[in-house]
Point group: D3
Chain length 241, copies 6
C-alpha cells in the first residue's frame, strides 16, 4: 500500500488528490489518502510549513505503527513539506511531489520553468531546488499570485496561470512547465495543449514512481542522514527541585 | 527584552544557557529564557527538528501576543531549528546561533571548521551552511560522536571533542573552530587555550549581536519571504456531507 | 515497446542486459534489446564514447523510421553515451542508466558514492554528474580499476569491487552505492547484503521508470534544446570547380 | 578604542563618518577616525583601490605601533579596501562596511539588493560578494551612476538613488536594500521610510558589531591566512656588482 | 605542422577558414586544413555534433598515423565538437575555437557576451562554458537566429547579428563580444569598429595559440583523462552459438 | 615592446626572469624587465601583495607615460599581484603568470595541481582560482613550505618541492602540475622528466601568449570594469576652516 499524505487540512484538496491518483492506471499497489486535519488549510510560507511538517511526521508515525505499514509514501504538497523528517521515520521510500516533478522535468528538457501560487513560496521552492541539485536546470520559479484555495474556486484562475506560464517560458527559454502546486494537477492536459511544451504534475509522477520503486525493492538508506531517531535518555531530575 | 528560545525541552540546558548569557556584560536589554517543554530533550536529526520547530513557532506566537513582545529573538540550537518560521511571525530580528557563529567565523579567518555532536547532524548543518553562503569558507563540518546530553554528564567528553577538533583543524587547514552545539558553549575559553585558534560559541555571539541589532533599529523584512502568514479563508462545507 | 540500446558491441553484455531486464516484473510494455555492432566492445574513455554515440544515433534513427517506433528508449551504458543526441531524434522519452541511478540515489539518501570501472571514466562521469545537478549529493566517483570486460570473466572481480566500495563509503560518509557500470548490475542484491546500504543498478531503474513514463504520457520536449535536427540547405557548387 | 579608517583622502567624508558614528549610542569603546591623506579622494575602481589599500595598511601599521593599539578596526569604504592586508597586521578584529552590511542583510531577509555609485564598482563588489558567500542571497548589485563626491554636493542625488533603488527592488524581488557606498549612510532612515523595506548602512553596523566583538573577546585568527607578515632575509649582494 | 579540422563537410567554410588563417602573420608552423566530408554541412544541435565528433576522431586517427603527425590541432567549430575525444588520440595539444575565445575574453574583460547562430546551440555552448569554468565571466550566450550557412550567403546577416550583439551587450553589462560561430570570423574588425568593445574570433586565437604552445613544448597530459584508448580484448565466442 | 614586471624588489629574481624569457625563441617583440624596488623582496601573503600592487600600478603609469608605451604587460608573480589595477591603466593586454598557467593547464588536462611555496599563499591563490573560473579544473593548491627566497639558495629545495608535487598528484588524481611561484620556473624541464606529467611555468607561457596577443590585435576592454580611472573633482575647502 502506498500512503499519499496531503500535508494540509483541506478535505476538498484531498478528495481531488484521490480522484486524480485513482484515475492512474497500471499501478501495482493500493493507494490510501490522508490529510493532516490539524495542519493549516493550505501551505503558504514558512510557518504553515513548520506546522504541516509536524503533522506529516505524526501521520507517518501513526501509519508505521499500524498493522500494515505502507510500502511507500508520497508527500502531496509541492513544497515537499516534512520530507526529510518523514524519511527518518521509515525504511519505505518517501517521495515529494515537488522533488519528483523537478527531477523528471530535467529528463525531458534542459531548462524548465516552475509556476507556483504566491510569491512567498518562491524562496522556499528555490531552496528546495538547490538542495535537489536542480538549480542549473531550472529557468526560474514564478508566482501566478493566485492563492492555493482560489485555484479550484475561481473560474478565471486557469487563464491567469496560463498567461503567467506562457510569459515565463518565453522570457526564460523554458522548454517544459512544472506545475508548482498540487492543486494545479487538474489542468495538466489542458495546459499542455495550450502551451505546446510538456507540462508536469508532480502528484501523478510521484505516485507512479513510488509504485515503481516498491517493485524495484528500493528503500530509504538508514545510514547516517536518515537513520531512525535517537532514543533519548531521560533527563535527570531538575536541579531546581 | 530579548527572548532566548531553547528549542528543546531540557531544563538543565536551558539553565546553563541562562548562566552563560547572564554572564555577558554590556548588554542593553533584558534577557528572558524559554524552553520548549513539549519538544524532544535534544535536537538530533530531522524529526527532532520538525517537532522542535513546531514548538518554537508556538513559543514565538505566544511571546508576540504577550503584553511586551520581545525586541529580538535568539534560537539557541546550532541547527537553527525553526528559524525561517519564526522570522515570519514577527518584525523583530531573529538570529540563529549556528548562523551567527558561522558568519562571525568568516570575519576572523578564511577557513573555519565546525565540530558538532552526532554524524546525523552533519547533513542538516551542511544544508544550513549552504543556505547561509558559508560553504566556501567552511573547511568541513565534523562530528565528535558525543551525544548532546553526554556533553554535560560525561567527564571525558571534553577531551574527546578536543581531540576531534584538533584533528579536523590540522587535516583541513582550519583557522578557527566553531562549536557546533549550544551545549558546548561552556568550553569556549578552555578550548581556545588548548587549540591556539579562535573558538566560537554561537550563543554568546547571537545574543550580543541581537542586542546590538535592536540598538541599530534593524528589523526583519516583511516583504515577500517573511511577510506575516496568510489569513486562510474558511474551507466551504465538505461535499462529503 | 521500449528499446534498450547497449551502446557497445558486446554480444554477451547485451544478453546479460536482456536477462536482467526480462526478469523485471510488472512492466506494461514489451522490451527490445539492441547492441551497436560497429561500436567498441566496451566504452572506456572519450573516444570510445564518441564512436558509440555515433552508432547510438544511428540505431535511434533506424528504430524511429521503423514500422512501430519505440514508446521510450533506455541507453544502457553508465556513461549515458549519446543521450542528448538521441533525445533530439525522437519525441519518446530517452533515459540514461547513469542519470537514472544518480537521480534515484538522491531520493533515498543525502550522499551517495558511485563505483565505476577504470579511472579514465571518472572525469566523464564527473562531468555528467555536474550536468545532472547531482554534484552536491554525490560523495565521490571511484574507480575499482577492474575493466568492463573483466567484470563477467574474472571470478575475483566481485571481491575487488566490494572492497573498493566499502572503503569509498566509509571514507566519504556514503549512504548508498551506485553501481557505475551496466555490467555490474548482476551484483546488486549480493552487494546490498554485504554493504548494508542501498545499492542501485541504473539498468533496472531506467527500464522501470521508462515504462512508467510512457504510462504517464511524458515526452521529450521538442522546443529549443531537443527540437528535431535542422534540414540543411544543399551547399552551392564549390568555387573550386 | 576602535579605529575607523576611511581609505580615501576626503576630509568632508571623514567628518560625516565621525558625525554618524558619534551619534551611535550604547557603544563601550571610544572611536577614533582616520583618513588616508595620500590616497585618492574617493575609491572608484581598481587602481583607486590599489592605492587606498596601500595607505590603509600604512595606517594600520602606524596604529599598531602606537602606545595603545586599537581593540578593533573598521574599514569605512563599501569596497572593503585593503581588508585582508589589514587583518594580517593585527590580532584585533577588522571589519569592512561592505562585508558587514551584506552579512547582516542576509539575517533580515532572503534576497537583498545593493545600490552603489558607479558601474565600474559593480565588478569589484560582485567579487567581494562571492568571496563573502553572499552571492546566493543577493538579488543584484546596481549602480545609480551618481559619483561618490556628488552624493553630498548634488541636491538631486537622493531622488536619483531612490528611484534606482525602487526599480532594482521591484525588478529583482528584493526584500531589503544595502547602501553600497559609505557616503550614502546619511540617507538610511529617509530611504527606509520611502521604500518600506529595511535599508542597511554598513558603517553603523560595522562599528556597532566591532564594539560587540571586542566585548566578546573575538580576535582575528593568526593561523595560516592572516599570520603576521614574514620577516624577509636580506637579499645577498647582487651579482651585477 | 598544425592541423586545422573543420568538423563539418562544407567546402566553402573550409576555404574561408584557410583564407583567414593563412592571412595570420608570424606563425612558426605550416597550417593544413581538413574538412569532415561525411559529417553534416553545418553543426547545429546535438545530433549534428555526435556525427561530426565521430568524423573528427576519424580524421585525427588518420593524421596521427600519417608520415608526419601534426604538432598541434585546432577544432574549428565554436561547439568544440569532439575535443575530448581528439585529445585522447594524440600527445599534441588540441585546442577548440570556442574554448580559446572564451578563455581569452576572460583575460581582456570581466564580463563577455557570446553571440551564436541558432537557439538550439545555446544549451550546448552553455554546457561547454560551465566545463571550461567560464560561467562566472560570461554575461550570457545569445542566438542571432541566423543559421550558419546563411552567414555567408545572406547580405543582411551582418546587420542582424550586429543588432543582436549590441542589445546583448547593453542589457547584460557586456565588456567584450565573442563570435560564437567559426563562420562569423570574417566580421571581426568591422564589428569591433561598430561596437567599440573587443570582438573575439576563436579561429585566429586558437591557431595562434596552438602555434605558440608548440614552441613552448606544451603537450596534452597522457595521465588519466586523456590516456590513449584501451586496447580491447577480443570478446569470447558468443554463447548463442 | 612587452614589459615584464616583477612585483617584488629582488634583483636576482628579476635577473633570473630575464634569463628565462630571453631564452624563448620566436617572439616578435622586444622584452623589457622591471622590478618594483620599493616593494617587498618577495610576495608572501596579503600585506606584501598590497604593497607590491601599489608599486606595480606605479610602474605601469610610468611606462604608459613614457615615449613608447608597451604593447603588452606581464605581471611576473604567481599571485598576479595588482593585475586588475594594471588593466585599468592601459589599453594594452595585461597577463598574470598565475592566471595564464592555470588557464593553459586546463587545455592540456582535466585536473591539475598547483604547487606553491608557503601555506599563507594558498588562500590567495584559491581566491584567484575561483575568480578565473578554474576551481572545477584544479585538484588542489598545495604548499611545499619552501619560502620564495630559499628556492634559489637552498640546494635541497628542488627535491622538497618534487616530493610534495608527487604526493599532491597521486593523492588528488592530478594530471598536470602548475608551478605556483615565478621562482620555480628554472625547474620546469627537470620536473617534467621526473614526474611524467606536463609541468607548467606561467612566466614562459604568459610572455609567449602576450606576444601572440599583440599580433592578434587583442586589447583590454575599456568599457565598465577596466575603463580608465575617474578624474576626481577637487574637494571643496574643508568646512573646518
Amino acid at each position: 500500500m502506498i500512503a499519499i499524505i496531503n500535508p494540509n487540512a483541506s478535505v476538498s484538496m484531498t478528495e481531488q488528490l484521490a480522484r486524480e491518483c485513482n484515475a492512474l492506471s497500471g499501478l501495482h499497489h493500493e493507494l490510501t489518502f490522508h490529510r493532516c486535519a490539524e495542519a493549516p488549510a493550505s501551505i503558504e510560507g514558512y510557518s504553515d510549513g513548520v506546522s504541516a511538517a509536524y503533522w506529516v511526521a505524526h501521520k507517518v508515525r501513526q501509519l508505521e505503527s499500524g498493522a500494515t505499514p505502507p510500502s511507500a509514501y508520497v508527500i502531496a504538497c509541492f513544497d515537499d513539506t516534512g520530507l526529510d523528517g518523514a524519511r527518518e521515520l521509515t525504511r519505505a521510500p518517501v517521495l515529494g511531489v515537488g522533488e519528483m516533478a523537478m527531477h523528471t522535468a530535467s529528463l525531458l528538457c534542459q531548462n524548465f520553468c516552475v509556476m507556483t501560487t504566491l510569491e512567498r513560496s518562491v524562496p522556499i521552492l528555490t531552496r528546495n531546488m538547490h538542495h535537489y541539485g536542480m538549480a542549473s536546470r531550472c529557468a526560474g520559479i514564478f508566482a501566478s499570485k493566485v492563492p492555493v484555495l482560489a485555484l479550484e474556486q475561481d473560474p478565471d484562475s486557469y487563464q491567469h496561470v496560463l498567461n503567467a506560464a506562457r510569459q515565463a517560458l518565453e522570457s526564460n527559454r523554458g522548454e517544459a512547465l512544472v506545475l508548482g502546486c498540487a492543486g494545479m494537477g487538474q489542468w495538466v492536459r489542458r495546459m499542455e495543449a495550450d502551451l505546446s511544451v510538456p507540462v508536469l504534475d508532480g502528484v501523478r509522477i510521484a505516485v507512479t514512481f513510488a509504485d515503481a520503486m516498491v517493485g524495484l525493492g528500493l528503500k530509504t538508506s538508514k545510514v547516517l542522514s536518515y537513520q531512525f531517531p535517537e532514543v533519548k535518555a531521560a533527563e535527570p531530575t531538575s536541579t531546581r527541585g
